[in-house]
Amino acid sequence: MLSAVFIYNQKGEVLISRLYRHDVKRSVADVFRVHVISSPTSVVRSPVTTLGSTSFYHIRYDNLWLCAVTKNNASAAMVFEFLYRLLGLGVSYFGRFDEESVKNNFVLIYELLDEVLDFGYPQNIEVDTLKLYVTTESVRSTRALQSDALATIPQSITMQATGTTAWRRNDIVYKKNEAFVDVIESVNLIMSAKGTVLRADVQGQIVMRSFLSGMPECKFGLNDKLVLDRDPASGAAASASASASASGSTQLGRRQGGMGGFGDGESVEIADCQFHQCVRLGRFDTDRTISFIPPDGEFELMRYRTTENVNLPFKVLPVVREMGKTRIEYEVLIKSNFSAKLSATNMAVTIPTPPNATKCRIKVTGAGAGKAKYHPEENAIVWRISRFQGLQELALTAVVDLAPMTKPTPWSRPPIALDFQVLMFTASGLLVRFLKVFEKSNYQSVKWVRYMTKAGSYEIRI
């Protein structure tokens, strides 16, 4: 089990040092700093470093290093799960979890560390539960505490921590009951120079923000191929009811009109589902229905992956000609492959240049074609397009002059990389069919769904 937890800043200075056992000294923090953080040799670092009989497990986030130390043969998966939970805790408490926020909240962090680990064993690490008694507000007077909190809070804390729904208090009340569902997908692609797809997959994430009163029971439906194929009639009925209820405006609301890219009734093959702990896995295993009592606030409901039938949002046609040893000509044509109603934002195309490039003459054509610039520090031309409409075509032509090399070495021709965000589009074709909320008081609730596709590693070879 864990002997100590340290938090370092980027330079390796210790920000937080909390020891849980006596088998390590405080100076062990220096060992990690010397051997891992400021070690010049290890550019690619293993997340687990064992020095002597001591193991250091670390993760990096923003400009922080979170490091757990153990002398035992602790389960690495458990340690990392703890570290990421700790990270989540920090994010939910301070909004951003970086050096600045750590420095501003020393006391609170030590308080949290005292709660989440006891003699090195992880304890309750649920944000909602912790927020009950590790509060960010100023401490109220003892009298006020005596009057209400002292009497009720400890009991409720115990109840909740030991109950079946540790992630939710039962006394939440909202005037307006709302639930937001965000489907965020990142699409990965490797495409050959000739346009053949070598690898394409989508990593998806469904994030929910619930502002619902009481203990609501939610049911969630996707256009999962297994569900729809198993019972086509019921699937069609369900989708019909979903569309009907959507038109009835209470069931599903859309912040933007029109879904581009996928037709109705299409089903998606979802693999590698991972759920938040609130989801009842037993029911999912038997009939693939996702039912849960949501925690209050934001949480990640599920993660998934699809590899079949990926809708590629962009098609890139690169032509790169090496004209002798002194010049390279580029012609890069990009086509968007989604509905004209939608648009991609924050698009950046990185077109690599040889390491001996000297001068680049770049021209971009098309409406709103953005700006392209040679960045010598990255050995690439970076083309930024603030807004890329659907079913549009943009082109870039560039001539790059090369300096003579003493020892001519062929250029490795690294791939062109794309970065973008497309709203209301899912590369996998995934669709939220329904979200039903049942509560004892039977209140009306408003639900919102938002879709977004981002570029993961979207690469086209040249």
């Binding site: 001996n356 300096a403 003579p404 003493t406």
Partner: protein, 926 residues
């Protein structure tokens, strides 16, 4: 150097970078900037210098710099010192061996070497030493030599040039053509400037190691220079180092002299002796200051080394020995170390070891010195000074010390003990005792060579075997037995266990039990050896077969694959129904072929190679003497030890056996040659007979002649006990007689069999046709493979022009008229007077002579000669194209004198000559 702001800013930027990625980005940016700057046509010298500096800095940080070399060369060509300096710096750091701009660099260097500005020359010389490519060595050596020899160049340049040449010489000894200029450099040893002399001395030392012949003259220069330093005290005051004049130069010169043999001229010799004596005398008084002591002792030790190497004055040597004796008892560790090392050198050369032996006690004491390097040197010295008389003491001391010695030292110690014991053993028991003790004591620290060698020695010496067996059994019965000892004992018992089987307590059962008791605790490899021994026991002692089988049976299930395989195979062999295989497989091992001891090679391999070659090696005087002789250009007669076989015997080229040709050396071979000569001679006048009779094969010949054609059958018989394979029989004619004689394999006969079983026979017929007169007999080539070894035998085939002679009967009168006719014409006459001592002893000799002449194809003419014993004959040689040649023979035996005169007259000189030679050979081999 003026500061360059851009460079300082850039370095500061890089230092500020927090992470590696930031730094890489900054470098990439700078590289792009420099690339564009270098493209601009108007780049001034300062900027070029600055950017090249930046590139150098990036290269030093480990980034790849693939351009800018040309700009660096431009800088080298600049006239400004600072730019030139940066240019050379960049080139020596960035340039690769095979760069295409190398030529430009070389041209620039050459120009600078010949420059009048000596700073430029120095820069160029420095760069040459730093870069030192083959091209530079080939092109610039002459220019650098010119600088060294130039009368106008300053001392400073001369020094640099000498050191630069040294670097080139070490790197590319074959490219600098040193023999050309070596002789011209040598006189600089006598240069008045000590700095120049010192640099040149280093250069000449390197030259002397590679071209001892061309640098011989250096010795006299070195001696004279030493004299001026040591005896005449000619040196500038600034070269005195703590009262010692120029110690580095002295040492260098003394070392240089060690590479040459003692000078021949008596004057030089006495001069050298007086220098050495002077050095030794000066160092008699111990100096007080440490630095002075160091300097003086270094010179002294080098002088002693030189004295030893020259080996000219025994008195001096003895004096040295006494001096060294004082050093090895010194309190200073360094002095002790040097003393021991030098004494080892001395021991390796001096004729009488008596002086050194007086210090034996001290040296043995040094084995226990506090300092490990001193202990090591003491070991070396003991090894060097060992001889027959002191071997026992030294070996026993070493063995005693082995237990407490460092682990690092033990392996070497064990090796040396093993070598000394083998070399100086006078009693067998002593050798076996010592070796067994050695194995038990130091088994963990020595390689397999040692125990392999023990087994080899025991197998090679019959007298050793009985005693070795006894000791082996004792070792096995001892409570503790080291693994290597177990291996040796097991091996020895397996081979010679039967020798002691009748002694008390040594019965086969006891041997097996002793082996078994130790087997369980041995390692895998030791157990494997032991299993083989058990297998051999089955063969040696059939009475304990069941016991042995039980042991093997237990190991048949061993986890180790090697053990399991051995056990299974031996078990199967032993339980085989036929009993013949067992004795063959487990036959006693033959003695090992005597090769250079593996121990010795191992020990010599340990001597690490350093920059300067050593002039001597540790160990016996023999090795050093050999080296010395080799250096002097004499070949060392290597009668006792055949050189180490470079290739295993299986790979050797097929053995050529040319029996008819002379050149055999051993008596055995001579006898064989004589025997085959006799066979050959017999076939000159008989048609059937044996041509070759060897250990493995026998070759017989059957011939029938119908001039000008004939048929010869070759019979090949296998005399050995093993089959022979891949037989091929060919006849090859000499080039000179290729057109005159045609030999073809006869048609209509089956192919040769693939293999020939023992006592089997194969035959081939050849058709021969005489086209023209020919002089040399064809060669019969028989190739075959026996027991995996390919063999080729080449035999001369008895087919001569004389075989194509048919007898012709003519009248006596005709004979004499033709005899006279041929004699007058003097076309072809051959006359020999041969020694035939057998005529007087053998009564049938005359008849034999008649048979020979008749058999050679002549018709004897009775009563032609007045002397009844004289033989006259007539024959006609027939060729296909050149026609027929008459041939007359007259043999006149003189039994009283033991001589015979043979006269042959023929119409063709070659015919006469060949017939005469044939008769000659027949008579000789009678």
């Amino acid at each position: 150097m003026a500061p360059m702001k851009g460079l300082t800013v850039f370095i500061a930027d890089l230092r500020k970078c927090r992470s590696h990625e930031d730094e890489e980005k900054r470098v990439n940016k700078e590289l792009a900037n420099i690339r564009t700057k270098f493209k601009e046509p108007s780049l001034n010298g300062y900027n070029r210098k600055k950017y090249v500096c930046k590139l150098v800095y990036m290269a030093l940080l480990g980034y790849e710099v693939s351009f800018g070399h040309r700009e660096a060369v431009d800088l080298v060509n600049s006239t400004k010192y600072s730019e030139k300096q940066i240019g050379y710096l960049a080139i020596s750091l960035l340039m690769e061996e095979d760069a295409d701009y190398g030529r430009m660099v070389v041209a620039a260097m050459r120009r600078d070497i010949h420059d009048t500005n000596e700073f430029n020359v120095s820069l160029a010389l420095n760069a040459v030493s730093n870069i030192c490519t083959r091209e530079i060595a080939e092109v610039l050596t002459q220019d650098i030599v010119a600088q060294l020899l130039s009368p106008v160049a300053s001392m400073f340049i001369k020094k640099k040039a000498a050191l630069c040449l040294l670097r080139l010489l070490r790197r590319f000894p074959e490219a600098v053509n040193a023999q050309q200029w070596a002789a011209r450099v040598i006189p600089y040893l006598g240069h008045r400037d000590i700095g120049v002399t010192l640099s040149v001395a280093s250069l000449v030392t390197a030259l002397a190691q590679q071209f001892p012949e061309d640098t011989r003259k250096a010795a006299s220069f070195a001696v004279r220079r030493l004299k001026s330093l040591v005896i005449d005290n000619e040196y500038a005051a600034e070269y005195i180092y703590y009262k010692v004049p120029a110690p580095w130069l002295q040492i260098k010169l003394l070392r240089l002299l060690q590479y040459f043999p003692a000078p021949e001229s008596p004057e030089l010799r006495s001069l050298l002796l007086s220098i050495l004596r002077h050095i030794i005398d000066v160092s008699q008084d111990t100096p007080r200051e440490l630095q002075q002591m160091n300097a003086q002792y270094s010179i002294l030790f080098e002088a002693i080394n030189l004295g030893i190497q020259l080996d000219i004055d025994q008195g001096l040597m003895q004096e040295c020995a006494v001096l060294l004796g004082r050093f090895i008892t010194s309190r200073e560790i360094n002095v002790r170390y040097l003393g021991l090392e030098t004494m080892a050198h001395l021991a390796a050369y001096i004729d009488s070891l008596d002086t050194i032996k007086t210090y034996q006690g001290v040296i043995i004491q040094s084995l226990r010195d506090r300092d490990v390097s001193v202990r090591r040197r003491a070991l070396d010295l003991l090894y060097s000074m060992c001889d027959v008389s002191s071997a026992k003491t030294i070996v026993s001391e070493l063995l005693r010390h082995m237990v407490v010695a460092d682990f690092t030292l033990r392996e070497e110690m064990a090796l040396k003990v093993a070598i000394l014991t083998e070399k100086y053993a006078t009693e067998y028991s002593w050798y076996v005792d010592v070796m067994m003790r050695l194995v038990s004591l130091a088994g963990d620290h020595m390689g397999d060579e040692v125990w392999h060698r023990i087994v080899q020695v025991i197998l090679g010496n019959e007298e050793l075997q009985l005693y070795a067996c006894k000791i082996a059994l004792q070792t096995l019965k001892a409570p503790v037995c080291h693994e290597s000892a177990l291996k040796v004992s097991a091996y020895v018992l397996g081979e010679f266990g039967h020798l002691i089987a009748n002694a008390p307590d040594c019965a086969p059962v006891d041997q097996l039990k002793a082996l078994q008791s130790k087997m369980a605790s041995g390692s895998q490899s030791a157990r494997a050896v032991a299993l083989t021994t058990v297998g051999k026991f089955i063969n040696l002692f059939p009475e304990i077969k069941t016991l042995c089988l039980r042991v093997l049976d237990r190991y048949r299930g061993a986890l180790d694959a090697e053990l399991q395989q051995r056990a299974c195979e031996y078990y199967a062999l032993a339980t085989l129904e036929s009993e013949d295989l067992m004795p063959t497989v487990f036959e006693e091992m033959p003695p090992f072929p005597e090769r250079r001891s593996a121990l010795m090679s191992r020990l010599l391999k340990r001597e690490a190679d350093t920059e300067d070659q050593r002039t001597w090696v540790f160990g016996g005087r023999e090795i050093n003497r050999e080296r010395k002789l080799q250096k002097a250009g004499k070949t060392v007669e290597d009668s006792e030890e055949p050189p180490v076989a470079a290739v295993p015997q299986l790979l050797e080229v097929p053995e050529q056996t040319r029996f008819v040709a002379d050149g055999g050396q051993t008596p055995e071979e001579l006898a064989r040659v004589a025997k085959s000569k006799r066979h050959y001679a017999r076939l000159l006048w008989e048609n059937d007979g044996i041509l070759y009779d060897g250990d493995e094969i026998q070759v017989g010949l059957v011939a029938q002649y119908k001039p000008p054609a004939g048929r010869v059958g070759v019979f090949l018989g296998n005399k050995s006990t093993a089959p022979i394979y891949d037989i091929s029989i060919h006849v090859a004619c000499e080039e000179s007689s290729e057109k005159q004689l045609v030999v073809q394999q006869a048609t209509g006969q089956g192919p040769l069999p693939d293999s020939l079983m023992p006592l089997g026979q194969a035959r081939v017929f050849f058709d021969v046709k005489c086209i023209d007169v020919f002089a040399t007999a064809p060669t019969l080539r028989i190739a075959y493979t026996m027991a995996g070894a390919p063999t080729v035998s080449e035999l001369q085939m008895p087919v001569t022009i004389a075989h194509f002679i048919d007898p012709v009967t003519i009248t006596v009168a005709d004979f004499f008229s033709r005899w006279k006719q041929l004699g007058d014409a003097a076309i072809g006459e051959a006359q020999n007077v041969l020694k035939t001592p057998f005529l007087s002893t053998d009564s049938g000799a005359i008849q034999w002579l008649r048979n020979v002449v008749g058999g050679a194809g002549f018709a004897l003419i009775q009563g032609a000669d007045a002397e009844p014993d004289n033989i006259v004959g007539v024959g006609i040689a027939t060729t296909e194209n050149a026609g027929r040649f008459g041939c007359l023979i007259r043999v006149e035996p003189k039994p009283a004198h033991g001589l015979t005169r043979v006269t042959i007259r023929a119409t063709n000189p070659t015919v006469a000559k060949v017939v005469a030679a044939n008769i000659n050979m027949v008579f000789e081999s009678k």
